[in-house]
Symmetry: C2
Subunit: 480 residues, 2 copies
């Protein structure tokens, strides 16, 4: 973070690298999806097992840090420490920051606080914080104590913001200039200040109180004459990020306004940091992908999660599901007499419940996704429900026709066909209504619709499936 | 695209805008999640209805194009054309490129080809292509005919690449320089060439055959003395994108290597375009979010999709589900005699099937998500299955204990409790195995695991639930 060298020196990438490009590497180590080939992984693991660290290092050294992180993730957990030890300094700060949380926790345990402090100092504030924030308090303090005062202050300040907030995500190193500076002065300032960050995409223009009043893409600066002032060049419409904003909202804002970087401000409007899109991209993907896991009750749903953690997260949900299944079971119990008289009903009833459950899942997935992408507001919530009911009516009638005719033919019983068809329409329409209304209601109550909806919707479609079918069969006097 | 003015002129953002920032706008039109407030939408719709276009335009004009697009999406479809007409040129090229596909198709029908050609010319190639690619062939041709030859050529060339490929996603306007140029020469070249793009974040360094040999962030150029040569400054390790690469792979590559922009090359390695992260961010979100829709069989799952399209996408899946539900139904049929003797079995059997189905969904969600993020390869597929079975065993034993004890107590029947517990363990373990193995098998066969897995896993957990419970009950002589 604070370790910047001579302005020209560390930037001369051309001289100190071999000519291999990632495309060429791909031929040997990566498959067409940028995943490490199993053969490559085996070769590395075999070399480590044979005590041949040199071969392992030769194989791994051309890899991008993100690929070295993948390699460690793909290594069976009991061999990870050995592989990391054999690779030595190839497993550096950048690799650590790319690692899956669980795998990183595994490896970090083996590192000395001084080593971790050194890694943290090499990274941007946000990446260093990501590594340190999950550690136990005592270990965290040991690492902080081993850091230079300036780096420590930056990290401690980041840790003072809530988890998953913009304050944790931002980096402090940024370029801010007053509006009276000209393009030429800005370029001279950048050339003369060796300790400025080298990774920035936009410059912020601030007033005397350090409040951002505009921003400027680097490309605008490079394509303009030296004499133009920042006041004229900058764009005043800017998207500012409050430092306590939740990271999910930050990600949605980046996505909506196609931002590359954004200024982070404190409550008094002062510029305190910068978030860049590369720090947000993995959040966009995580947030978009986690609803599928939440909807199924799979918790974090990470394949690197310890088995006991997965067990605890999932069994809670299965036990809740057991309780809601009892509701459906109780409804069946009410109709035991009917089933006793006509056992074919027991054979058919799971069809009505199951297809209804599937229809509910469809509507629920659409609604949860639309809520997650901010596509539904108070303006169109009712319209969304009406739309889902219309789709459900079409679906219900189609499925009911097919099922009703089939049952009537197979059982040679028109009344039974009619009953199951009517039950099917009822349940699919109920599923459409519940699948849309339940997540919307949870969202209105500020509860996560993905976590809570599924169990309710399933309970409703199961119960309604059995109730409609067995109830109609009883009412129709099928068994009389 | 080709319409670039004087180098300084169009970039003077400071002069021609009012001072309102998006943060200030937010107070009046946006809620804390950057969604348009219902009151704001109503005010605009009321003004349009009253024929007061001026008020509508005054309200809307401070909005970002992405928010104007949201406004049109939130407007009921039958009123969209009126609102768009009232807003006039506020609904410009950028708004069009931000619109949901279905809503855009609605509005585009009302526009003349000449108008669309003008819009397309204002946009980057990739955004123009996104608008034009979904049009009917005849309409597409009319728009292309109305365009300037140069713009038309760029779009026709993009359209010649497969849909959802890098070729459709890239823009042609980029900055490429030879490696012998110095930083100073590059800056002068950028200042002197008015027709270069203004939106770029990195410069590509190419050889004599126009093959990229390195890249350079603009910040490196701005922080270096004029005399440094590009050969020394550039980074040679670069991530190149083949022009026919699928956009999902492009998105994963951007995410994995934290790219801001990347050079696109043709089959001979020549630089043909550039993809920037802002074009990829919405794909990352879409691809991560669509698995939840696919897994439920909800098709595109867009709330703006016409009802008939949703119906067609979903009913196909529900009918397939009907067929697989028959398998479970048939299994129950085999045990009709057993149920006849002990109707309580009919009451309890959906619990075993339902909780098993839920356990299967959990494992399936985790596996599908891990496959989508390239976390599973040949190296750890077997390990993932073993892990899921271990979690399933723990879950199965826990749920079986609770359920078995409960049933034994309620029904005062130890044997029945034992049977349902054994069936529950069997089904949850089966669910864990199927939930992991089925998506992995589909992926191995190059089929989309999210689309095809759910129906198989549900069929397996339903059938196994009924078979294990009714089969064990029969074998245990419960009804004897």
């Amino acid at each position: 973070m604070s370790e910047r060298g001579d302005p020209a020196e560390p930037l001369l990438h051309g001289a100190d690298t071999d000519e291999e490009t990632i495309v060429e590497q791909a031929e040997t180590s990566l498959d067409e999806d940028d995943r490490l080939k199993p053969e490559f992984l085996s070769a590395v693991l075999d070399a480590v097992e044979d005590g041949d660290s040199e071969t392992a290092r030769d194989l791994v050294s051309p890899l991008h840090p993100a690929d070295i992180a993948d390699l460690l993730e793909l290594t069976p957990s009991e061999r990870r420490a050995d592989v990391a030890a054999a690779l030595g300094d190839l497993v550096g700060a950048e690799v650590l920051s790319e690692l899956n949380d669980y795998v990183r926790d595994d490896l970090i345990g083996a590192l000395a606080p001084e080593q971790l402090a050194e890694f943290a100092a090499e990274l941007d504030t946000d990446d260093a914080v990501a590594i340190i924030e999950d550690m136990e308090e005592a270990d965290q303090q040991a690492v902080l104590d081993a850091m230079e005062p300036e780096d420590r202050a930056a990290i401690e300040s980041a840790l003072s913001y809530p988890e998953e907030s913009a304050g944790r995500l931002m980096q402090r190193d940024l370029v801010a200039v007053p509006e009276h500076m000209t393009v030429g002065q800005v370029i001279d300032y950048l050339r003369d200040n060796a300790d400025l960050t080298r990774d920035f995409w936009e410059i912020y223009v601030v007033d005397a109180a350090h409040r951002p009043i505009g921003y400027c893409q680097l490309s605008w600066i490079l394509t303009c004459p030296r004499g133009i002032s920042m006041a004229d060049l900058m764009k005043r419409e800017q998207t500012l990020i409050p430092v306590d904003m939740d990271q999910e909202e930050v990600a949605l804002r980046f996505q909506k306004y196609a931002l590359i970087s954004a200024a982070v401000i404190d409550s008094s409007g002062r510029l305190v940091g910068m978030i860049t899109v590369d720090d947000v991209v993995h959040i966009i993907s995580e947030e978009a992908g986690e609803d599928i896991l939440r909807l199924s009750g799979a918790g974090e749903g990470d394949i690197n999660e310890p088995v006991m953690d997965s067990y605890r997260a999932r069994v809670r949900w299965l036990l809740t599901n057991l309780v809601t299944a009892l509701v459906a079971s109780t409804i069946i119990g009410i109709f035991e007499g009917t089933i006793q008289k006509m056992v074919a009903l027991a054979t058919l009833m799971p069809i009505v419940a199951g297809v209804g459950g599937n229809a509910g899942s469809q509507t629920m997935a659409v609604t949860v996704r639309a809520l997650a992408t901010n596509q539904i507001t108070g303006s169109n919530a009712r319209r969304t429900i009406v739309r889902e009911i219309r789709v459900a009516l079409l679906n219900g009638v189609t499925v009911a026709l097919v099922l009703g005719l089939g049952v009537a033919l197979v059982f040679q019983n028109m009344a039974l066909g009619g009953v199951i068809a009517a039950a099917m329409v009822t349940n699919i329409v109920t599923a459409g209504l519940a699948g849309a209304a339940v997540p919307l209601a949870f969202d209105r109550l500020n509860l996560d619709p993905a976590v809570a909806s599924s169990i309710f919707v399933t309970m409703i479609t199961d119960s309604m499936g059995f109730l409609a079918f067995l109830g109609l069969a009883t009412a129709a006097g099928l068994t009389g």
